[in-house]
Amino acid sequence: MSTISSPFEVGDARPSGSRPFLDVNDLHVHFSTEDGLVKSVDGISFQLERGQTLGIVGESGSGKSVTSLSLLGLHKKADRKGRGGARMTGEIWLDGEELVSADEAKLRALRGNKMAMIFQDPLSAMHPFYTVGDQLIEAYRVHHKVSKSEGRKRAIEMLDRVGIPQPNSRVDDYPHQFSGGMRQRAMIAMSLMCDPQLLIADEPTTALDVTVQAQILDLMRDLQREFNSALIIITHDLGVVAELADDIMVMYGGKAVEYGPAKTVFTAPEHPYTWGLLTSMPRLDRPVQDRLAPIPGNPPSMINVPSGCAFNPRCGFVAQNGGRCSGEVPELLQTTSSGRRHLVRCHLPVDVRQRTFNEEIRTLL
């Protein structure tokens, strides 16, 4: 459990008394299954202002998508005995409103309106029986008392804004008549119908080709600037994160293991898992390596998370720490050296981490 509720306390000065636009505090999302309790998200905290972008990075099963769905309140709630759905604890403050304890009606009013989501696979996120226009208009009219023709005008305007050619006629097309990239553009248009202040993009470009991915990333960057929304981008692609994010949170086994400004996380990371991620991928902007340096082993099963630090069975630095890594869960703490906020969850002493990075890891990057 994080002892520091807000990284702003340690680094940036901000006016006291005001909450960040989005303030997630010690969020837990647990699912009870036949095989045992799955702690998909196990105590994460982060903050985000409008106009800023947070990148959440992690492997499959690290809890990154569960986090995004819980922000929108899209998990089915468990019954009183904690069965049949998600048990959420902690706080999510969006512009002064708490969402974990909010009822369905309130979430409904916010969802699609103040906060919206861009899903990974636009083909399965759109209804195949309705035209793209119908779906966009519905998203608008749920939250605004306007006529159909006004909604249609808005839909055409948004399709035009995201770069769909001939929006006047394409608005009446069905999703299958769009190509993959156009479908993702239409999804983005749908999420922007109500000018959301918080936009969550869950693997928005994973299903797309690189040339289309480049178009969509540029579009998202432009739109964020135009609408001044807070953006959370969830991905496993470090290249995508580096292009968009101001802050990065690296997740492993349901917990944040490293959290800081994008530049710090990429150039002076301190968690062995982040090192592993950065050294294991081949990069086009570096000379060809003889051999990649993979992280050994497999991501943990969420039913049977390793005791202590979840990363310890795959970590190359466990021996330096006695039995601590497997016995005790490390806390997410500010590393002393960096002036700005930079939180790391690791038992290794800060000076050892920094020395190891400078001497052994930096050359591999």
Binding site: L238, P282, A293, N298
Partner: protein, 355 residues
């Protein structure tokens, strides 16, 4: 990992490794086409064709890795299936070690399956969930009727060890394994009979980042130990650069550029290759935003339909250099001999206005 066990376990086929002179290609494709017919109406009349692969020429040399890149729908997977003869080409010829295998019947192909194997993208759907790992990896021995000196079980266990799994996994089922481990099982199956050529179709794209590196290293280790040649099909340009000796870039059923790895990545000549390379996001936050945008060649529009591809050069509809000639004449894939920057013999480009 023990090579000794492995070689004694499989059939001792003298002289199979390191056969053929270096100049002799292991596999060559000439003008290979795959047009899938589109049938309509009561009589299932052919009304058109999806020209998935529309005349590709290249060769694979013994022991090398040829990377095949391109966007979805460009025909790279179909090309892989033509090389392994899982599909029969509708035109052109595929030769393996000098033998024409283009239209061989299944019975004739069977002995060849020892030499050409395939690793699939999705390790979930390419392993039969009702079979144990032992029977999946042992199937090639059974089908080909090969007796191993120490028995098939021993041979399979050696293979499992070779790809980094434990011999105790013999009696387990695919669902008991993680994605990375399942991909290793698929690789073990492909290697069972010591093939000369392995066609790997997106073998790492379904895996997590940290696991991708493990499997890429495994591919390289096995190549060093066993002298395999790979055709490595992928859309991830950084992985392809890491593993390949030569790289071919496909667009809409055609190869637009083929070159040695370093030539292709450092001095790409075809506009499409340049656009493709510039679009790869670089994990460097200093280059974010405007800067990345400026360096990037942004292609407009989408890939045209392979049912009705553009005349002349297929890339012309999205190319910023396109001129009159591009729509009338199809540029051949050739070495650039004239012009300010001629290319080496191994670097071929299909463009009227190469950079």
């Amino acid at each position: 990992m023990s090579t000794d066990n492995y070689s004694s376990a499989t059939v001792a086929d003298a002289g199979r490794a390191a056969s053929g002179a270096a100049s002799e290609p292991l596999l060559s494709a000439t003008g290979v086409q795959m047009h899938f017919p589109i049938r309509r109406g009561l009589l299932r009349r052919t009304v058109g064709a999806v020209r998935a692969v529309d005349g590709v020429d290249f060769e694979v040399r013994p022991g090398e890795t040829l990377g095949l890149v391109g966007e979805s729908g460009c025909g790279k997977s179909t090309t892989g299936r033509l090389l392994t003869r899982l599909l029969e080409p509708t035109g052109g010829t595929v030769k393996f070690e000098g033998r024409d295998i283009t239209h061989m019947k299944p019975g004739e192909l069977r002995p060849l399956r020892r030499d050409i194997q395939m690793v699939f993208q999705d390790p979930q759907s390419s392993l039969n969930p009702r079979h144990t790992i032992g029977s999946i990896v042992g199937a090639p021995f059974e089908i080909q009727g090969i007796k191993s000196p120490n028995g098939t079980k021993r041979a399979v266990q050696d293979l499992l060890a070779l790809v980094g799994l434990s011999p105790e996994h013999y009696n387990r089922y695919p669902h008991e394994f993680s994605g990375g481990q399942r991909q290793r099982i698929g690789i073990a199956r492909a290697l069972a009979l010591k093939p000369k050529l392995v066609v790997a179709d997106e073998p790492v794209s379904a895996l997590d980042v940290s696991i991708q590196a493990q499997v890429v290293n495994l591919f390289e280790d096995l190549q060093a130990e066993l002298g395999l040649a790979y055709v490595f099909i992928a859309h991830d340009l950084s992985v392809v650069r890491h593993i390949s000796d030569r790289v071919a870039v496909m667009y809409l059923g055609k190869i637009v550029e083929i070159a040695n790895r370093d030539d292709l990545y450092s001095s790409a000549r075809h506009p499409y290759t340049q656009a493709l390379l510039s679009a790869v996001p670089i994990p460097d936050p200093d280059r974010k935003g405007e800067e990345a945008k400026r360096e990037r060649i942004l292609l407009t529009g989408d890939v045209p339909s392979p049912i009705n591809p553009p005349s002349g050069c297929r890339f012309r509809t999205r190319c910023w250099k396109a001129q009159e000639i591009c729509s009338t004449q199809e540029p051949p894939l050739v070495q650039l001999t004239s012009g300010p920057r001629p290319t080496g013999a191994d670097h071929k480009v299909a463009c009227h206005f190469p950079d």
